[in-house]
Symmetry: C2
């Protein structure tokens, strides 16, 4: 199968490697606005060749959109205008607006909306890695609006990696990702800003970071080019969960002010339940233990 | 050198393995309130033998306190009462109160206050690992109040792992750890609570967690037995940085409400500076990129 990858960044590049390595893609045609990105992708053999967008769409069996989500709102209708029997899919982090934009497009049924739930804080073609998606979950949205053969191609693609598939409608996707993914990024950006504001000694931050700070601010390294469009498209759900998050922090604050450490213990015990939800090792309650 | 390890949890157990493996400790005597912990530590060969506290102190060249920080306030004076030429050190996460408690103790100079900046969210003897500390930073506090030979023993101990040593006074230590370590834990606990409150579908949390949530809530698995005493002892500095954190999140909220996405871009760009402070790879600005 010939795959046209539109946008050769961390996600598009990683997907290109995975699909070439496992044989799902016989050929990957790369498309990107940045010539330097295409050169790097060719040198690293992430893609087999490059073509202008129109020619890539015409030559492909499957077109994958892997640009930031603001660009997709213009790109997807343009690609669908040029599609006959090709399958088109996206791998973006927001869905509701994108689905609305192509709702009445005559080729809508050739499109399958997807969101592979993986990624690291690094961005760009240099950050592409072969095993980014292995064993993770991917979301397919509103599949009833897509042709059965198109959905089947996309399911085989994710099965080849392999990723586990979850089916959601676009609105539910955006709500759940606001709650589980997008708020984590805001929390991390804010934590980095807080520490940069309060801790004027940068050497101290570096020295003390291994005590937990490094993992909570990992996401704060993420690029505004991708995250501003996500927050714009998912503003309402993100605001909803952000309000709840600020209220929870205010509760910690109020307990600290009152030196209500029993209250703080209760909050921590409730938070610990995340361990079982994430299906990690059971919480250990040995008394002789030392914090992070 | 004979080392008495008081408290065989994640930190005490990990330190015991490291010091036995690198030869710094010829023998490790384990002390713990929980007989089951001592049995596990013996079976895993983290320690060579066990003794009651008094006998362990008498038999040791170096006594290491690795219990939660509330227990240390009582334990350290009791241990110093029994010390002649032995060296005593702690590995706790807060320092100011502990240093105050032994300020006028006749054997104060045999004590060296330390805080190795490493740890994972898992707790207890089962979570002990040999390489926990390798290459990380450790803090030594108020060394001018300790005998030079005692400081030298502790410096050789950390050098044997090896860890890099930073010297701070107790108050500065507590301030910096509040800013870099303790706030990360509150942020993570609060994020876990927020998502557990808003996202009623636990399967969804599990499925979508690899999109960043898992790394920001890792610390939310941490035990209240260790963290409540830390927040109690470092309440004022923690409140100070928590106020700033809530204000930063309120700024994100206000920009979202006003749809001021240029403002959000500025915040993210500022937050990205954490990448250079943590001395990771330089931020990549390729346009074709995809979020976490």
């Amino acid at each position: 199968m010939v795959v046209a990858m539109i946008g050769i960044g961390h996600i598009g590049g990683s997907l290109a490697i995975a699909l070439r390595e496992n044989g799902f893609a016989g050929e990957v045609i790369g498309v990107d606005r940045q010539p330097e990105t295409l050169n790097k992708a060719l040198r690293r053999r992430l893609i087999d060749r490059t073509l202008p967008l129109d020619e890539a769409v015409a030559a492909a069996d499957l077109v994958v959109l892997a640009t930031p989500v603001d660009g997709m709102l213009e790109l997807l209708p343009k690609v669908l205008d040029r599609v006959e029997q090709q399958v088109v899919m996206d791998v973006g982090s927001t869905k509701e607006q994108l689905l609305r934009v192509v709702k009445d497009h005559p080729r809508r049924a050739r499109f399958v909306a997807t969101h592979p739930m993986a990624g690291r804080e690094n961005s760009g073609v240099e950050a592409a890695v072969a095993d980014l998606f292995t064993g993770k979950f991917t979301v397919l949205c509103d599949v009833e609006a897509s042709d059965a053969d198109a959905v089947s191609v996309v399911e085989r693609l994710y099965g080849s990696i392999p990723m586990q598939i979850v089916y959601l409608d676009g609105r539910a996707h955006d709500l759940h990702t606001a709650y589980v993914s997008h708020i984590s990024h805001i929390s991390s950006f804010a934590l980095a800003l807080t520490v940069l504001a309060k801790e004027t000694d940068e050497d101290r931050i570096f020295e003390l970071a291994s005590s937990g700070f490094d993992s909570t601010v990992r996401l704060a390294k993420s690029s505004p080019d991708m995250w501003v469009p996500i927050f714009r498209q998912n503003r309402d759900f993100v605001l909803d969960v952000l309000d709840e998050h600020i209220n929870t922090l205010a509760l910690f604050r109020s307990y600290l002010i009152k030196s209500n450490f029993d209250g703080i213990r209760e909050l921590i015990e409730k938070a610990n339940r995340i361990r079982t939800v994430l299906r990690g090792a059971p919480q250990n309650t040995a008394e002789s233990q030392k914090p992070l």
